[in-house]
Amino acid sequence: MKAARTSILLGSLSAALVALALTSPRVVAADKVDPVADAKAFQNFFFQKFPTVKHEDFVNGPYSMNEDMKRQWQEKEEFPPYEFALDAGKEMFVTPFKNGKTYADCFPNGGIGIRQNYPYFDEKEGKVVTLELALNRCREANGEAPYSYVKDEMASLTAYMAFTSRGKPMDIKIPDDPRALAAFENGKRYFYTRRGQMNFSCASCHVQSPGERIRAEILAPALGILNAMPIYRSEWSGMGTTSRRFVTCNSQTRAVPLEPQADEYRDVEYFLSYVANGLPISGPGARP
């Protein structure tokens, strides 16, 4: 009897040890920063949740989720509301600064068709650099005052640059640098962290509820959500940048927004852009 009890005890103990041995590496793997695996899981989640949506259509936000809205949007695209911003952006882009240089002097390929490579990780600075930030740095380097990150001129400039990249697949790189991996992880954490009195994270709306209504609006999927930036929003009666989108999302959850281009915003842009790699740039966009 005693021998039988001892053997059962030993058997249970060895089974528990085997189970521990099998699960431990998984726990370690789950905590390791692995952007490739994260992007794959992120995309698969949306592809499986919305099997009838074409992959490249996710970048069209709420229109990929609702046929009626999509038809209205397609008609509106004949005379898109961002057209004025696009024209203004092109003119600004080619107009020389006081020192005779232009934005083209600050960017690879003269700034044309490069939107899909932003944001990037600057190994010299050790931080993420967004397109908006690069544009203002370009201005300051050439003796010009920086623009507001949330609208007007910045939106026009980025609208033009996005337009020259339309259709190009998002192509964000994460160099083999622990600081870049940390920035990606920090952006991911920001994306999933609940904040504000409403206790919402970005994911509460754009992962858990895309296609659902929040008041009169249809929520966009998180996948490819930045590919359409900047956007004309009827709600804003104007254009808005990625910075503006983050700031207003925070305010809507009753969280005090961070300053535009805060490290957290730069990192969440890095995360969201990287997980949308392969999906086409569709900006500038128009949203209700």
């Binding site: 994260d38 899981a41 991911k188 999933y192 609940r194 504000g196 009195q197 994911a203 009753r254 969280a255």
Partner: protein, 105 residues
């Protein structure tokens, strides 16, 4: 009702009135105490990057009421702001780990 019962009831009423806490109006000192507690909590929430807009607006409402001399309202608003700030601090601390539950894996 006999006379001794009436006297007893009268005395009991006097005693009850005498012991009842007086509902006194809040004064500036009460407001300053409540406001500084709320302000300290709000500062902590801000340092955690988890400030709520309603904390800021409720703190402002407390100050506005105090500036207008309405210390009852000012104290009530300051206490509400403190509670909101403490809730946002709790959120910031619990989300340090809780965010992982929502992650797509």
């Amino acid at each position: 009702m006999n006379r001794s019962l009436a006297v007893t009831m009268f005395l009991a009423l006097l005693l009850a009135l005498g012991l009842a806490p007086a509902a006194r109006a809040a004064n500036e000192a009460d407001y300053k105490t409540a406001y500084s507690a709320a302000e300290a909590a709000a500062k902590e929430a801000a340092s955690l990057r988890h400030q709520w807009t309603v904390t800021v607006s409720t703190l402002a409402a407390a100050k506005k009421a105090a500036d207008g001399g309405d210390f009852d309202r000012a104290v009530a608003a300051a206490r509400e702001a403190e509670a909101l700030a403490k809730a946002s601090i709790f959120q910031a601390i619990s989300e340090k780990e809780a965010w992982k539950a929502m992650e797509i894996r």
